[in-house]
């Protein structure tokens, strides 16, 4: 079943390439913003030397472009590539392009209002800070575009099921549909928040907004969002990595079980971001905490299954003993550069996962909530395994879909290692700083890290300096990647256009059980909906019950409301 090729239409190939190359430019603007964050926080700069504006504007475009725009585009491009490839069927090209254009227009719109300083609300856009209406409209178009793209895959899947009765759906397809089922349910809440609350309020059609309700709807979306980021990376880990390592996936059933568990437990967990919030009873927070522990289980299964797959690959490569396989994997083979992106991400995810369990641990969250620990943590997840898998996947896909040979493979192979070293240093600085009380989302350079300020905190300084060091190394890693990426994009194709075909490294399974109970999404979606209703009804009730008054909109520049 593996190693086959599929011929996409020229238009479909071009769309996948566009959905990767344009967001890569936006990603690089966001990455530049990230480097500036570390310099701001250390007090090295007071305003952005190129884009202009303060730390908070930079933080907004860093978060929106990297965590929302780049990731959504990649997930859609990945689905547009892997669904037709795995099912050996062609997409409806018109619908695919419509979705791509909606997403591009929305993202560019949001990016422009952020860059001109009209939407300095960070990527969580909590009211009553108000952004320009075009910011909310842009985000809506991005989300709607992604819905259209995923709706385009459904008829293919249904037809494949009819024509292949009794056969197991390819694991990649299961993973991608899982990603978008989670995404669809989660984005419904943020759609309600934006369309019925934020947008009319920002346009001035309604005066006041219930801040706690908006915040709760945001986190209904905000935590499953992290699985929307993570799941395409999981698809690459399960489907590509064993093959790239020279082995097989240890257990196909484990992969299917993991994906179904994500459908069930990804969403009824959002209140664990609101442990320190008012207006929600602690027992409902605890319930969301329990479900969060449940959603840790598929990641623990993944850790086992992937390690077992790599062990199998290492033994096939001649490894002996209990741990010998670790030294036999193709870490530094330039021809196998893609493996480097996946293995570095997995190593980082060990720390990311441990941090996640700490954050989820109810009253332990008191110690770290909204401190620098939190960005320290999520850079080890979304800016670690997710980012690295997406970068590797992007480079692989531009090669395949633009019909190019990957150039500068040594650069491409070394970039994730450089980035990983920087990331571990930066996150260590943020996490320890956070434990000492350093707040997140704060321009420390202008107060806590400024020796002339009454607020100066000398004991935070070594950790702030570590974030500058780590952030700079991460930036160098990304520059190395970008050079290799665009050298490939702008290189000449070696294969004539008519012969252009696409292939993906699809792994075989070592243990391939029938797993009939994991073959249908429907029961798992129903369980998910039941859990969501059970876990969110009392939370929403509490919020409506305990809040009073509404909030007028504010600009970040003045303590006087805008009307």
């Amino acid at each position: 079943m593996s190693d086959y090729t599929f011929r996409f239409s020229k238009s479909d190939r071009r769309l996948v390439a566009i959905l990767i190359v344009i967001p890569m430019v936006l990603l690089f603007i966001g990455v530049y913003g990230g480097l500036m964050q570390t310099l701001f926080r250390a007090g090295i700069i007071q305003s952005d030397p190129f884009v202009g504006g303060d730390y908070y504007k930079g933080l907004t475009f860093h978060g929106v472009l990297n965590a929302i725009v780049f990731t959504t585009f990649f997930a859609v491009a990945f689905g547009n590539a892997l669904i037709p490839y795995s099912l050996k069927m062609h997409l409806n090209t018109k619908i695919a392009w419509t979705s791509g254009i909606l997403m591009l227009v929305g993202s560019v719109m949001a990016a422009i209002v952020i860059l001109i300083g009209e939407a300095t609300v960070l990527y969580t856009f909590y009211p009553p800070l108000k952004a320009h209406p075009l910011f909310y409209i842009g985000l809506t178009l991005l989300v709607v575009g992604s819905w259209v793209a995923s709706a385009n895959w459904v008829p293919l899947y249904l037809r494949w099921r009819r024509e292949n009765e009794g056969k197991k759906t390819p694991l990649a397809v299961v993973g991608i549909f899982t990603t978008f089922i989670v995404w669809f349910i989660a984005t419904l809440a943020v759609a309600v928040e934006i369309l019925f609350m934020l947008l009319p309020w920002s346009l001035g059609w309604v005066d006041e907004i219930n801040v706690m309700l908006a915040r709760t709807l945001f986190w209904f979306f905000g935590h499953p969002l992290v699985y929307f980021w993570l799941l395409p990376a999981y698809v690459m880990y399960y489907v590509f990595m064993p093959k790239l390592a020279g082995g097989k996936l240890y257990s196909d059933m484990a992969g299917r079980l993991v994906f179904m568990m994500f459908i069930v437990f990804s969403i009824p967990v959002g209140t664990h971001h609101q442990y320190m919030d008012p207006a929600i009873s602690s027992q409902w927070k605890l319930l969301h905490g329990i479900f969060t522990f449940a959603v840790a289980l598929p990641s623990l299964i993944t850790a086992f299954t992937l390690a077992a797959s790599l062990e199998h690959a290492g033994k096939l490569r001649g490894a002996k003993g209990l741990f010998g396989w670790m030294w036999k994997l193709p870490y530094f083979k330039k021809e196998n550069w893609f493996f480097a992106y996946l293995i570095t991400g997995l190593i980082i995810f060990i720390f990311g996962g441990i941090g996640g369990i700490i954050n989820a641990s109810y009253q332990l969250n008191t110690v770290i909530h909204n401190t620098a620990w939190v960005p320290g943590h999520f850079h080890l997840t979304v800016a670690g395994p997710v980012m690295l898998a997406f970068l590797g996947g992007s480079l692989y896909m531009v090669g395949q879909f633009m019909n190019k040979t990957i150039r500068l493979k040594t650069w491409a192979m070394i970039a994730p290692y450089v980035y990983t070293i920087g990331l571990l240093i930066m996150s260590y600085g943020l996490k320890i700083g956070g434990l000492m009380g350093m707040p997140r989302r704060t321009n420390t350079g202008a107060s806590y890290a400024n020796p002339d300020s009454v607020l100066y905190q000398a004991d935070w300084m070594p950790y702030i300096d570590l974030t500058v060091l780590g952030g700079s190394i991460m930036f160098i890693g990304i520059v190395i990647y970008i050079i290799s990426f665009f050298t490939t994009v702008f290189s000449k194709s070696e294969v004539p256009e008519e012969d252009a075909v696409v292939t993906f490294p699809i792994s075989e399974s070592l243990h391939d059980e029938p797993a009939t109970w994991l073959r249908n999404f429907k029961p798992y979606i129903i369980i998910a909906i039941i859990l969501i209703v059970l876990s969110y009804t009392p939370v929403i009730y509490d919020v409506l019950q305990a809040t009073y008054g509404g909030s007028l909109p504010y600009s970040p520049d003045s303590p006087v409301p805008l009307r």
Binding site: V211, P439, A446, L455
Partner: protein
């Protein structure tokens, strides 16, 4: 599912149950909890501090762009404070250094936590939710003194 998979699954489950048990132990036996839903308190717009018992105080704190009211609270060692916090404009939040107290201040809602100060010293709290252009200057402190008699609030609206 082979033997090693079953073992891994069992151990993973056990690990999570163990962690969860620790959480329940802290909540039930040690009474360490997270903020809950407060409905029996009238909304307040000004800050107040008053003594409710020999070592107990109630503090109503208001967060606003860009200051905490009060910004300095002076209390004797051993004080237990019932701390209520709200915001009069946008979302703020704070954590008190070296103490297990971390609260979001959200407009239209009252948040609550109890904290005991067992050692003398100065403990800063910095606003930890982005609240606009001067967010990084929004901070305050508890000053905990050995001397029994002092209680004072500075920077409030009194």
């Amino acid at each position: 599912m082979d033997k090693s998979e079953k073992l891994a699954l069992g151990l993973s489950g056990l690990l999570l149950v163990l962690f969860f048990g620790a959480i329940m132990y802290a909540a039930v036996a040690k009474d360490i909890d997270v903020p809950t839903c407060i409905t029996d308190m009238d909304p307040f717009v000004t800050d107040t501090l008053f003594q409710t018992g020999p070592d107990t105080y109630e503090l109503q704190m208001v967060a606003r762009m860009w200051a905490f009211q009060p910004s300095t609270v002076r209390l004797p060692v051993g004080s237990t404070v019932d701390l209520y916090v709200t915001s009069q404009d946008i979302i703020h939040g704070f954590k008190v250094e070296q103490h297990n107290i971390n609260l979001m201040a959200v407009p239209g809602a009252i948040n609550y936590m109890r904290v005991t100060f067992n050692k003398p010293g100065e403990f800063m709290y910095a606003c930890h939710e982005f609240c606009g252009a001067a967010h990084h200057t929004m901070a305050g402190r508890f000053i905990i003194e050995e001397n029994d008699e002092v209680t004072e609030m500075i920077g409030g609206s009194l």
